[in-house]
Symmetry: C4
Subunit: 237 residues, 4 copies
């Protein structure tokens, strides 16, 4: 495929992923955005800002360079969260797609200001340990470059926590909501779904038993490595 064909395919995938978010109940109105990067080609493809999902078409997806600068004439304005995606692509080399939603239960944990504990194998199958919460941005960080600095605090959270973004493919931005990512855009949106589901489960788990402890580490290990890495044996060969 030539460059043009690759970008057309990316637009198609980004379009479809953005549509799946409201279908899965993860996005209301226009509250979400998904993007994909191709580092070899030097392009990011992302949803346009504030466009109604029902009227959106694949060709409206916005193509930018790796710094988020639109590359096509007469392009739509990209999602206002693009600068966050740009920072994440630079900080997380193995990540090829980023998704942001305001899905209900992930937002609740982000608003509540707590890391999401790992209480069970549903969580462990996708996230290798707690999903971290970022700190609040400072007033200066907000004023200077809100979206860029949102990406920076996410990257810092992973660096300071010594976390592998491919093993823990998501984060809770305090007072805001979730970002997830993955090696493909399909995985990235599935991770949004899983994160919201396990956020809901964790909340009700604590309601049923306020003294509950996280899943034992050896069960977490087993479930995560059953699905990931060299010794995975879940799914088809």
């Amino acid at each position: 495929m030539n460059r043009e064909e690759i970008i057309a395919k990316m637009k198609e995938r980004v379009f479809n992923a953005n549509l799946q978010l409201p279908e899965w109940g993860l996005v209301q109105l226009t509250w979400g955005n998904a993007s994909e990067v191709n580092r070899d080609l030097g392009v990011i493809v992302i949803k346009p800002s504030g466009v109604d999902y029902k009227q959106m078409t694949p060709d409206q997806m916005v193509v930018t360079d790796l710094d988020g600068k639109p590359l096509e004439a007469d392009s739509y304005r990209p999602s206002s969260d693009l600068p966050t995606h740009v920072v994440l692509y630079k900080a997380f080399p193995g990540v090829n797609a980023v998704v942001h939603t305001h899905s209900k239960y992930a937002v609740c944990w982000a608003q509540a200001g707590r890391d999401l504990p790992c209480y069970g194998t549903t969580h462990a199958d996708t996230f290798y340990g707690p999903v971290p919460l970022t700190r609040h941005l400072t007033e200066t960080e907000v004023a200077e470059a809100y979206e860029v600095n949102t990406g920076v605090v996410i990257a810092d959270t992973f660096k300071e926590g010594n976390l592998d973004p491919l093993a823990v493919p998501g984060v809770l931005v305090q007072g805001h909501g979730p970002f997830t990512w993955g090696p493909s855009i399909q995985k990235a949106i599935e991770n949004s779904l899983v994160l919201d589901e396990v956020c809901h489960m964790a909340l009700e788990t604590e309601a049923i038993n306020p003294d509950i402890q996280p899943l034992p580490q050896y069960v977490l290990d087993k479930h995560y490595f059953r699905k990931h890495g060299a010794n995975a044996y879940y799914g088809q060969k």
Copy 2:
């Protein structure tokens, strides 16, 4: 367009908005009503009272003057909450549409008798600060003119709280439920959706962390003014 054509368009929009409310899960049975005003023309268009949504047609929408007096012969009876809408249109000059629902989580906060705190950016993107709760109507206010006085206590709540109804486009009427509004009927029903969503999120946020504090003011400012006012940069030009 002439007067007749403008009113026909209003009926179409009011009809569609009233149908979207049950589609979005905000209205059960006939528990909701949406209206639109055209002050130049001196007309309000509102849903008829207690008509099944499945049998409703655009021409059944009721046309009244700015005092709520039906203008068309053989008109259906307007929604019993029309007097509340009339008061709000008089009190809030920039408001062109009003919506009332019994959506689940907004009703819960209204019944619980608390202002809705702003815990995150999902809230801040639409409501610039807490969504206020009205006081209960007095026994005399109920007896004398229940629906009119519901409008009066809403208007008083905004006046006493020195709140801009376009910056906080909704209210919780104590023991009853939400009213929302906006510059257009589309915005007004979207505000109903957002209000219910953030009411649900706030409730679960408090369950996850009972000591949670509201969103810092500077993040609230950032998110609200990213979408509203002269320096907004969300959406397409």
Copy 3:
């Protein structure tokens, strides 16, 4: 219409009402039943027991006399809860239809063993005051005639509480679930929907504010009598 035609219409209505229950999310699998009585004709029509809703047809509805004795040859077995319906029709003269479900939130209140308080106008529009909880049946009552005695404790609850079954058209049977009723089968199933909705709202209302008090009596009066009785002004003439 002759007797045969009237019964055919009843079967059609009872069939449709029973189908609406799963459509509205009030019934899972076969956990519900709705019936209608015609006292002049001396017949009750009720859903057959344990038949899959997807395969059910109107002619499978079971016709019985006012004591619950099947009147048609080769009839299906009536819902096992028929004896409860029979007792209610005898005890509540103005009631022409009875509905039983295991709808989620009404069951939760029934299991929790509490009357449902009236916290807002959504409740007051349909139920004039708290929805009462029955006591548990005694071991003897269960052993002797479980379904009959379920009807008896419901009737006793209304008698002892001096409650009008048309003003409070529903009950929570302790440890079991809701029964609702009404002047028509359409009203009776709508009352099931309202009861489940207000049960959910009441639960979340208490979560938001554990010290919440019931709706003031004068607001309850206003809302109930706005929709019911000689001075009602909700809906079309």
Copy 4:
């Protein structure tokens, strides 16, 4: 029917049951599996591992012997939980189908580490008493044979609790989620639905009344034996 025809029918039923799980909201993505055994024929039929439900076909169902060894050439890989199913079929002679899901509320109780109490007749109609929680597997059990030992702790839970797996057709595996079963695959998936529903109800029941006690034993007996055993009188003859 010959062996081939019987297996074709089993594949059809297992396929349909696996599709019903996401339709009923009990399975997200590929998080579930249902199987059926025919002991006379010496075969188990189970869902393939990690295949997208939208692309799955009946002929992809995997046929194994009673030890879980695939019997057909070029077969798909069976669900990674097959060894658990194998142990359950050996331990529970009357059980002809096993279902595993990560349905939301059953997972919450499994994560919370509590037996599910019987609070009402919705529960009692299907589960004769509390639904038991297994202990956590030990580190050694996980390392040696995770899926096999999951089956072993389930079987042990029933043996130690002196429980009849046909009277209590389900279990909560601690930190993981539910398994249900039954005399047929249709019953087994219905039991998954009921288990999730009563898990949700129990959680909200405790929220409404933290001091609630389980259903009296005589009501539990009545409801369970109304639907099961020699004296059942629910449903058609």
